[in-house]
């Protein structure tokens, strides 16, 4: 009971890992390419929980994990901008937003 009610590093790591694999499930199983992108965002965001939890519980006096998480957030913003631009450009060409129709590079 104390292991359940005494919240520590383990609880946050399990939470972020579970969220990461839910995002992986969305990436692997969805047809719509924007849903795939959303799963990717959830994965990136769950990694931040991991960074901050380690920062908070193993070295709370120096905030390196927070700085890394800020870089991850900036990268996620750049990634979603370029990703959606690509989706819009492909949609203009092929009039579809389903992943299995994006087969121009397949032979």
């Amino acid at each position: 009971m104390t292991a359940i009610m005494n919240i520590g590093l383990n609880h946050f790591l399990v939470l972020s890992g579970t969220l990461f694999f839910i995002g992986l499930f969305a990436v692997l199983s969805k047809k719509n390419v924007i849903a795939v992108l959303m799963g990717l965002e959830v994965m990136l965001s769950s990694v931040n929980i991991n960074l901050i939890a380690f920062n908070r519980y193993t070295s709370p006096e120096i905030l390196t994990g927070n700085v890394f998480a800020i870089f991850v957030i900036a990268l996620a913003a750049a990634e979603v901008a370029v990703g959606l631009a690509l989706i819009v450009a492909i949609y203009r060409q092929r009039k579809t937003a389903e992943v299995q129709d994006y087969d121009l590079l397949k032979w």
């Binding site: 383990n10 579970t18 969220l19 694999f21 839910i22 969805k30 929980i49 519980y57 927070n66 750049a78």
Partner: protein
């Protein structure tokens, strides 16, 4: 005790909305549930005493990225909205794989002895984050600025309508 209750409530909201995001067949509902999940993650940051990160999470993820995604949905949606977000044929293998990985991850985390420090967390995080970012990690900070500029220019160039030569 209250910390534990808050943690479990936030965890259930975050994981539940993420799971509903995956299983919903309406992609617009998926986007809104993703927003709830991001706000839950911001609350987790508050629990971990990373207040600046919580604010950045709300601004960037819940604000900018959700707006971007909803813009993309509106641009590419056609036909019946209730059928816009279906599973592909590898949904069941993907679900099994994710479930196995969740269990493995939880088992590994719970088996490991982490080097937990008993040091009290910093009261005020913004100034220490700023100091680290502008001294030790200043090169990475500048590179990130350049990366954001490149991403912005790249997104504009990719989306820009190409005029056909007449």
């Amino acid at each position: 005790m209250t910390f534990a209750v808050m943690f479990y409530v936030i965890a259930i909201i975050t994981l539940g909305s993420a799971l509903m995001m995956v299983t919903s067949t309406n992609i617009f509902h998926s986007a809104l549930l993703m927003l709830v999940s991001f706000l839950g993650i911001a609350a987790v940051f508050v629990l971990l005493q990373a207040d600046f990160l919580a604010a950045a999470q709300v601004l960037v993820y819940a604000g900018a990225i959700t707006v971007f995604v909803i813009f993309g949905i509106m641009f590419t949606m056609k036909g019946d909205a209730r059928k816009t977000n279906r599973f592909s044929k590898n949904a069941i293998p993907a679900a099994v794989l994710s479930l196995i990985l969740i269990v493995i991850n939880a088992a590994m985390v719970l088996k490991t002895q982490w080097p937990v420090s008993s040091h009290a967390p910093l009261e005020e995080t913004v100034s220490s984050v700023a100091e680290l970012m502008l001294t030790k990690y200043v090169v990475a900070f500048e590179v990130t600025a350049v990366l954001l500029l490149i991403a912005m220019i790249g997104a504009i160039v990719i989306v820009k309508e190409v005029k056909k030569p007449s």
